[in-house]
Symmetry: C2
Subunit: 479 residues, 2 copies
């Protein structure tokens, strides 16, 4: 913590790593491509997890747990799926001191093993819809890794559902994307854009993939959650059938959707600044930190007693409060430390404050003197609650302005190149095919992040081919 954080403008990647490790979100691990999620990072994930879990349950989903190890042959049953995941698999060849007859892979995702289970569990239309979610770890052997954003092992939830009709499956897919967007926007204060993925960005084996796309502080895009309408592909591969009300055998329609610890990285990169992390109050493990300020021993007792009473009052109001009682550290050091860790509100309490029945309040989202105000001790809980609400809204508003300022409408390929080269997101009509899309990616580094749900109305001329039936697409370089 003694060393400075690399400024974002100098090297955004180094800034990110500095924050992740110095704010104690994660620690490096001896295992290639994995990090250790430290408590401060894990508590951030717990906040995201609880927000999702509540919404999953409210929409009728139930949690279950499926095996970590999947027979290799399962993955081969869906052709696109195995092609998509084969290069990333970790394989168990030996167990219990013996070579296994069939190798087992560590799940990279669980469509196959859950598809097999669904085929046994589902008999008739009465068993539908089947709405299951799993909180788990998965392993995808990645060559280039970054804490939270891309690691060989990560934590996530994966929802898996089966339905009687294609319409219901599509509704479910969209409903779950909406839940992701709700949590991203209203809990994480990240103004994600919801839309449909292009063909080449689809999940391996899906009919359609929907996504929430977030703009990071360096203007690169981050896919923060995806929801897949799997059509009948997995139902076919795993023979997931049901007897309908007329006693006819029908193939089910399935969906899957996932959101991972990547979201922790999104929170860091969407909100952080050169001083450190900035956490949205609704997800912050500690929403308020109290720093008592004392010089002599005589002051100590009074100030600490007052600080403890203050903490108790805030705790009782349901505000997650930490009292920094560390000794031998200067107040300035503590201020920097908590700014680095992104705690939304700091309350400073010195002997003069105690005498005057006041407290100094400092907002993390408003730097320096401007964010500091003296408030009366009597009304502190109410003021803290109002400020937390205001910080939450302010963070969403400023991330939204930043996003809007950096999305540019383009009419042609030259325009797209210009915008992307300047680091922004390009928005324009697109009617190209997969090869056209690959060409744009090769030449500019940008991919179609999504066809946003919000379309202008009519279709327009494709920015690359000029064909007239283009849909609005968002292009950006992405994590």
């Amino acid at each position: 913590m003694a060393a400075q954080v690399t400024p974002q403008s100098e090297d955004f990647s180094r800034w990110y790593n500095d924050i992740v490790y110095r704010a104690d979100l994660a620690a490096q691990s001896p295992v290639r491509g994995s990090v250790i999620i430290k408590p401060y990072g894990y508590e951030l994930w717990e906040g995201i997890r609880d927000a999702l879990d509540l919404r999953f349950k409210a929409t009728g989903h139930r949690n279950g747990y499926f095996p970590l190890l999947i027979p290799e042959s399962y993955l081969r049953r869906e052709a696109e799926h195995v092609e998509g995941f084969s290069p990333e698999l970790a394989v168990v060849t030996h167990a219990g001191g013996k070579k296994l007859e069939e190798a087992l892979v560590i799940r990279p995702t669980s469509e196959t093993i859950i598809g097999e289970a669904f085929s046994e569990w589902i008999q008739s239309w009465r068993d539908l819809p089947l709405l299951i979610n799993q909180w788990s770890n998965v392993v995808r052997w990645e060559l280039r890794t970054r804490p939270f954003l891309r690691t060989s092992e990560f934590l996530w939830q994966e929802g898996h559902t089966a339905h009687a009709t294609g319409e219901e499956a599509e509704e479910e897919t969209l409903q779950m994307l909406e839940i992701y967007a709700d949590v991203a926007i209203n809990e994480a204060a990240i103004p994600v854009i919801s839309g449909r993925k292009s063909n080449i960005e689809r999940f391996a084996g899906a009919l359609r993939t929907y996504t929430i796309e977030a703009m990071m502080g360096d203007k690169r895009a981050l896919q923060a959650g995806t929801s897949h309408n799997l059509g009948q592909n997995f139902a076919h591969a795993f023979d997931i059938r049901y007897l309908d009300e007329n006693n006819e055998q029908k193939l089910c329609w399935t969906t899957s959707w996932g959101l991972s610890t990547r979201m922790v990285g999104a929170v860091v990169m969407a909100h952080g600044d050169d001083t450190g992390l900035r956490l949205p109050p609704r997800l912050a493990p500690w929403q308020v930190v109290i720093v008592p300020i004392t010089r002599g021993d005589d002051e100590r007792e009074t100030v600490h007693a007052s600080a403890h009473a203050l903490k108790k009052e805030l705790d009782d109001a349901g505000i997650r409060t930490h009292l920094d009682g560390r000794e031998g550290l200067r107040p300035g050091f503590k201020f920097n430390d908590w700014e680095l860790r992104g705690v939304p509100l700091r309350l400073e309490l010195g002997p003069r404050d105690v005498a005057n029945n006041s407290v100094v309040l400092a907002r993390r989202d408003v730097p320096g003197r401007e964010g500091k105000t003296g408030i009366a001790r009597a009304g502190v809980t109410q003021v803290v609650l109002e400020n937390l609400q205001d910080i939450q809204e302010n963070m969403l508003a400023s991330a939204t302005s930043f996003r809007e300022a950096n999305i540019h409408d383009v009419r042609d390929y030259a325009g797209l190149r210009e915008v992307v080269d300047a680091g922004g997101w390009a928005r324009g009509y697109w009617a190209g095919d997969d090869d056209d899309e690959r060409r744009v990616k090769d030449e500019t580094g940008a991919t179609i992040r999504c066809f946003p749900f919000e379309q202008a109305g009519d279709r327009g001329a494709c920015l690359l081919t000029g064909a007239g039936d283009g849909e609005i697409a968002l292009f950006a370089r992405a994590y």
Copy 2:
């Protein structure tokens, strides 16, 4: 569900499997030694998890997450530890399409990788105590498996802490065992006995292992949670040191403690009867099920409206309530179904009840007519709350009587054999060595479950050797 559950008296093992699969706690999986935890079983685990997590946090522990895959060499650093776990390891030899330079094992437990991390995180006495918990999956390749009780993969929590002194480590070890006992007794209604494990039953690498031991319905013992004082063994193996207040390098003292999805199996086997599962209200996913009873369509509307209003009233009071609105099933079928699933309270609501402003209440813990009473609709929430409380207490009381009736004091080896052969637990003084203990195990099938914390006072003559400094020990056949 059409087929009968095997009676406990006929074959307890088959009874257990019948319950687990028919009550929808788990499903068989295609992966050897693994089961799928179905939502009803997972929700039971969520109840146990939340009860523990609350207590861990209240005692200053914080959750984190460490890698699933551990370099094989790590396990070798602690001699007893590698010897204990080697035969059960699942090994990843290939990943990302290549053979790995060093094989990785799937964690059977995380002392090694967490020990390595602690050695980096801990610098000075200011960093102590370090109190970390992890919720995760682990893999131990078992030859003979049973759902929940012993599976190749299981879910658990593992706590890992480091301390400045041996006294503090011992205090922590005992505190966590107390938390396990609290959850077992007061949430799961299982009257576990807390005590110390014998040498040969100690955790591989521990100085002392403490355990909570539960008596199942067939009187066999089940180790339901363990807490280990690791002394300085892992600190030594992983070089976990700190600078004390006098600037001297000291070795830390560490602990670890774990409780797993095995506890779900314990709930089944401690409380279930020939009719099915019996769930303690505090852990039951659904505490109350409402079964509307109707014949004609004209009755249907009135009764269902009344049932929905009843559900809402109970939901609002925080009672987990399910309304069984399935059509085309006879009430008797539904009653059996919910008794099989162990829901503590059933409310039956027919047209006559609606007309009379009454409800029929049936307790799962009191079979037949005796457990059924008509109650006034007006006071139903209060009566339900009182009954749930009473069922919780009654289940603990009857499990405690059962336990007390089946523990017998013995003075000599003949007495021990007689008690164990009759299926009970033998309690007597023990001063034998490891070989003596192995002999008892070989000859009787019973192991020392623990030296209970509750000792009679003085020591006594060993039931096997006659040596006079025996401690009271509990012997039983165990899962």
